[in-house]
């Protein structure tokens, strides 16, 4: 029996989770593999409605970045379709995305840039660096957009949950924004130890405690990272009527800008595709016109060489024409072409020189001959003209497609806002006053140290009611694998899960709830909020989704469909 001399440690302290986290370096590992870290959100199996698990008490506080540690219980409870892989950030309708506002920034000077709703991006001088940390000079393009409500969250595909040490929280937002910068298309970073200040204008339900945190969307870790507390400043409340009127003005400005861009594109196209020469209809010499008859050296004027006798009509732009000039015995006449069919005639005598603008006119056989020629040329011209118009229209459609779509969206939005104005005006001041009381305008102030998506949030406690849910269409056909979106009227967040059968839906029975999904055809299938009435005592329910007739093509379409009463 041989003694092995093992080094036996009894009851020795174990490293903490945060001690261990410090050693994690997946990108370094990939580097050793020679692989390039995935620049896009990493693929991930997302379970069924696992946001509901263990939301529990509000523990987030000043927690640092939380990682998804292995938790067998967590895995055990997943309800995902195991064959489906979903991206972490997964916009459900790729073609409908919030537009970035683009600002040109002098990297040396920085500046303050205002977003449409009054939000500000305050860029200090010399804050941009390239991927190697080298400071950037010259012009930088700064792109910025905001997400404020559940439709914005839905379209962004950004998850609104936060995992902390294996526990999941739903985040209620008081405003979310994305900021990016590039120089000539090359993405830039913010210089280490530097920040860009953000003043994000938003509103929350009146009476809400203004205790929000700032989180950064860490797409690599597939989680929100807690950054700091949100500094919130209350803002004066603007009446809904004033607000909507301002909105109309902003929409009109945006439409005008788009139309100006459209006109510029058409002008450019007209320059690119030259117009065919338009033939001039031959003019008949009439008795009532002032006409001069003289011989012309046709070799100098080949355009009239085909005609036997060309006469010259004094143009109406010679108001001082004197009839007596007919009776003057002119010594000489000079003819000079000044445009395609306009000429300058100079009559010369010993005592007088007269300059008149004239045009050729014909009569008799010459006229008939010219008319026949004109008919032929005009036919060719009309065909060429039409072809050009069609070419311009086609190219215009190609180059202005995005503009047209945006214009259509803005016009639809304008109609909505106009209807809202009418509604507000019709319902009078009482309703307006109530609406003003229902919301509080705020300014979220924070500094960003990285480009990406930032969110002003509060982690939510769990809902009490659970409903084991199945989803079918009007023909009782079950949905499988579709993402289901769930919002309630009292909470500015969105909950998402993927249907795998008997999914648990956690919801607030005291609130109005709205459920929807996107069909494979790109249509919205919605469960009416009223349908939740009577489900309070149920443990399981099959939601019959109502599929909308049309494929959604714009944000306005979505807002028209997804609304609470």
């Amino acid at each position: 029996m041989e003694k092995k001399n093992y080094n036996i440690k009894i009851d020795q302290p174990q490293p903490s989770a945060s001690d261990i986290q410090k050693h994690m370096d997946f990108d370094g590992l990939l580097g050793k593999m020679g692989a390039v870290p995935d620049p896009t959100p990493t693929g991930k199996i997302v379970s069924g409605n696992f946001w509901q698990y263990s939301i529990g008490a509000l523990l987030v506080g000043a927690a640092a970045v939380a990682l998804l540690f292995f938790n067998p219980h967590w895995l055990e409870n997943q309800q995902a379709d195991p064959m489906t892989v979903h991206n972490y950030v997964n916009p459900p309708i790729k073609d409908i995305q919030a537009q970035f506002a683009s600002f040109k920034v002098d990297a040396n000077k920085g500046g303050t840039f205002e977003y449409g709703n009054g939000s500000k991006v305050i860029v200090p001088p010399a804050v941009f660096v390239d991927k190697d940390g080298k400071e950037i000079t010259g012009e930088v393009e700064l792109n910025y957009r905001e997400f404020h409500d559940f439709v914005d969250f839905f379209l962004s595909g950004i998850p609104m949950h936060y995992d902390s040490a294996g526990t999941r929280y739903q985040l209620e937002s008081s405003g979310m924004m994305e900021i990016q910068a590039n120089q000539n298309g090359t993405p830039l970073n913010i210089k280490p130890q530097s920040t860009i200040d953000i003043e994000l204008m938003s509103n929350v339900a009146a009476g809400k405690e203004l205790d929000y945190n700032i989180y950064f969307l860490d797409e690599k870790q597939e989680n929100w990272s807690y950054v700091c507390k949100d500094k919130i400043e209350k803002q004066p409340t603007v009446s809904p009527l004033e607000k909507t009127k301002t909105e109309i003005k902003q929409i009109n400005i945006a439409i005008n800008k788009l139309e100006a861009r459209e006109t510029a594109i058409v002008n450019q196209l007209e320059a690119e595709i030259p117009a065919p020469p338009k033939p001039r209809r031959p003019e008949e010499a009439k008795e009532s016109d002032y006409i001069f008859n003289f011989e012309v050296d046709k070799s100098e004027f080949p355009e009239i060489a085909a005609y036997d006798k060309v006469l010259w009509k004094v143009g109406t732009n010679n108001p001082t024409f004197q009839k007596r000039w007919y009776k003057v015995d002119w010594d000489d006449v000079e003819l000079k072409k000044i445009s395609k069919l306009d000429y300058q005639m100079t009559l010369l005598s010993e005592n007088e020189v007269v300059e008149l603008s004239v045009s050729p006119v014909l009569k008799g056989e010459d006229l008939r001959k010219a008319q026949a020629e004109f008919a032929e040329k005009d036919k060719v011209y009309q065909a060429e003209f039409l072809a050009r118009q069609q070419a311009i229209a086609k190219k215009k459609q190609e180059r202005t497609r995005a503009i047209a779509e945006r214009k259509k969206e803005l016009k639809a939005k304008k109609q909505q806002v106009q209807a809202k104005i009418k509604d507000l005006q019709a319902k009078g001041n009482d309703r307006e006053a109530v609406e003003v009381m229902m919301q509080q305008n705020i300014k979220n102030q924070f500094a960003v140290s990285r480009f990406g998506t930032w969110n002003c949030d509060i982690p939510l406690p769990s809902y009490e009611h659970i409903l084991v849910s199945n989803f079918v269409d009007e023909n009782q056909q079950s949905y499988k694998g579709n993402a289901v979106f769930h919002v309630d009227k009292n909470t500015n967040t969105i909950m998402t899960f993927y249907i795998s059968g008997k999914d648990k839906l956690w919801y607030d029975i005291r609130s109005e709830n709205l459920l929807w999904l996107v069909t494979k055809e790109g249509k919205l299938a919605v469960f009416d909020p009223k349908g939740f009435k009577g489900l309070e005592d149920k443990k399981e329910h099959t939601f019959v989704m109502k599929t909308m007739d049309q494929v959604v093509k714009s944000e306005a379409d979505i807002r028209r469909i997804l609304k609470f009463n």
């Binding site: 092995k4 093992y6 693929g43 199996i45 892989v85």
Partner: protein, 203 residues
Amino acid sequence: MLSISQSTIKATAGMNVSKKISSEAIEAEWKEIQAAKLNPAKFRPIYNRYYEKIFRFVFRRTSDEFLSADITSQVFLKALQKLEKYQFKGVPFSSWLFRIASNEVTQYYRDHQKQRVISLETTQVGEMAEEIEDMPKGIQLESMIAALEYLSESDLTLVELRFFERRSFKEIAEITGVTESNAKVKTYRALAKLRKIMIKQAG
């Protein structure tokens, strides 16, 4: 002096090895692995999920934080390098990672000729004592710990996995590369050897 008390034994009565993971979750993980086979960057969620588990596994065998970090890094590097060959056998991917980790630790001690670290808690020794049939009366914890010194590396590994880390025989089988029934038989043989050593030392 420590003794194996009744209360220690009671505390171990409900000993149940790791929680069962659903087949759906295992399959879901298999999809992640398939994605990672095509693009190593997709390995990140698996790395995030298992890093701490593997680190702790290594730490128990090294008692050195930085060494554990190095070995854990090596484990994941090897896992990524060998991922193409990984075959789904209906068991958690973690078992495969632990097997690599076990091999890496063994390799480390082989290369550096250092004393192998065994981490244990006194309660775990009590649990182990409860499993030993016909445990001689009056045996102290110190004697059991001292007896561990005479177990072979392979026997010690089985005891560690079963009693100090509370793993199922299925997991032990996966990590050590034997069948489940073989893992069970070998573990109890190791316990029998331990008993024999203790009796010999007492005598």
